[in-house]
Symmetry: C2
Subunit: 276 residues, 2 copies
């Protein structure tokens, strides 16, 4: 078992590559898993992609993403639920055990109202997820995205959301270092999530100083200021034993030769994320 | 008394203008106050700028900014304290009742350690501030700045910091809508700050969706998603009766004709911030 066997990579990290190329390259590099993004299914069949993953020897660690539940009216909110059901179906078809949910936010709508609409939206997906054998991972986003992407901006709020749903076993949390590292309550809330059996996913990258773009300037592990090993230690102490998923949105990196970049990623995994 | 008499503008909002021009234009527009930035003193004497403010009929509502206390070693931290003493002296000289403190952060240093160094740094400034008749306003910044500008990223942490200092009456808080609007604990922590007599300043602008630059794309009030009237209501209910200070960093706006921009600012104050 290589030291990278418990790492997974989100295909969007190597966005210039089609999914087939990602699978081959990750497997060849000794990476253990892959998290798909829904754009990977354009022109492809999710079940077929799932077979390619099995053939490659990789573990499918998840699918990104559903959610975006808040909307101005009931019809709009139903569209989001329908779309998330489709994402659940795709996750089941490709063998992804977890669907990542970005909760959504509506510019001009109060954040508490958006969080209530998110609870309702997830509630409308739980039975479908259970029937499909797919778990739902709420991903709290950085407060930088509170305006239009997620009213859930802390791990505490994600835990509250799970509580509000009655803690169904199908609903848990994706902890992303980029979104949560600044939060003084992080260790406490990781412990709380672990107690509830909610630690479904762990995403790693780094926070560059300075960050030059709000969306696509995430850093490779070691390139920024996030204490990754410490947070990973909290995850482990709270009972998480899953994959470390590399998820990096970076215009700079997407412009690179992707084979060279993958070599840098595996080096960064070994240097800045191990031992867990 | 014009309806704008309880508004103040930070000179950096009209960065292309020298301070003399700001004072004339704000007074002519019926704005009641001005908050200076230290760059306003380049080639000028703070006491002289203070006289210009008095002559203009404006109230000086503050000076930005001191702080940036964390540093790798004691010598570096002393440099920050010395610089903040100088800023206190300048505030006293120009008649600013409050010096705004941006607390600082050090890439790679743990945020709790940076917060401890911030407590020590402020502690080393309290006597000097008291003697000068200047109050110190800790400004919690948005978590987007946790990497390199402020380890204090919530109003709760600013309150904790005041507690850790023993709640001296010279130390309070500047609540900035841009930095704090996303925080579910905001109302609670405003109430807590009000109880402690800590609500020194209230800064307004807006959060644009999408925000295109991490530093200089703040919105004019009404241009974004911050519930300004609601937060102002919380400030008032907590006992704050000071000025609403317009503080907008915006490359787009700095490129405009500044007289036209000032007209847009006063219109936005009337439309989106009144009545308090």
């Amino acid at each position: 078992m290589s030291s990278l066997s418990r790492f997974s990579i989100h295909t969007i990290t190597n966005r210039p590559w089609p999914v087939e190329r990602c699978l081959k390259a990750y497997a060849a590099a000794g990476i253990g898993g892959v998290t798909l993004w829904r754009y990977n299914f354009e022109g492809r069949n999710p079940a077929e992609v799932g077979r390619w993953i099995k053939d490659s020897g990789l573990v499918c660690t998840g699918l990104a993403r559903g959610g975006f539940f808040p909307a101005p009216d009931a019809a709009g909110r139903q569209v989001a639920v329908d779309e998330t059901w489709r994402a659940i179906d795709e996750a089941a078809a490709c063998g992804a055990p977890v669907l990542v949910l970005v909760c959504g936010a509506l510019p001009g709508q109060d954040l508490p109202e958006s969080r209530l609409q998110t609870v309702d939206g997830i509630a409308a997906c739980v039975d479908h997820a259970r029937a499909a054998g797919v778990r739902l991972a709420v991903e709290p986003l950085h407060p930088i995205y509170a305006g239009d992407r997620s009213a859930v901006v802390t791990l505490g709020q994600a835990n509250d959301l799970c509580d509000a749903l009655g803690s169904p076993p199908e609903v848990g949390i994706a902890v992303d270092a980029y979104h949560t590292w600044w939060d003084a309550a992080l260790e406490t809330e990781i412990t709380r999530a672990g107690r509830g059996g909610r630690l479904f996913s762990w995403h790693v990258c780094d926070w560059r100083v300075p960050t030059e773009d709000l969306l696509n300037d995430r850093g490779l592990m070691g390139e920024g200021c996030i204490p990754l090993r410490r947070i990973a230690g909290w995850m482990g102490a709270a009972g998480f034993s899953g994959f470390s998923e590399v998820e990096i949105f970076s215009s700079r990196r997407w412009a690179m030769d992707q084979d060279e970049y993958l070599a840098a990623i595996t080096a960064a995994c070994r240097r800045h994320c191990l031992p867990l």
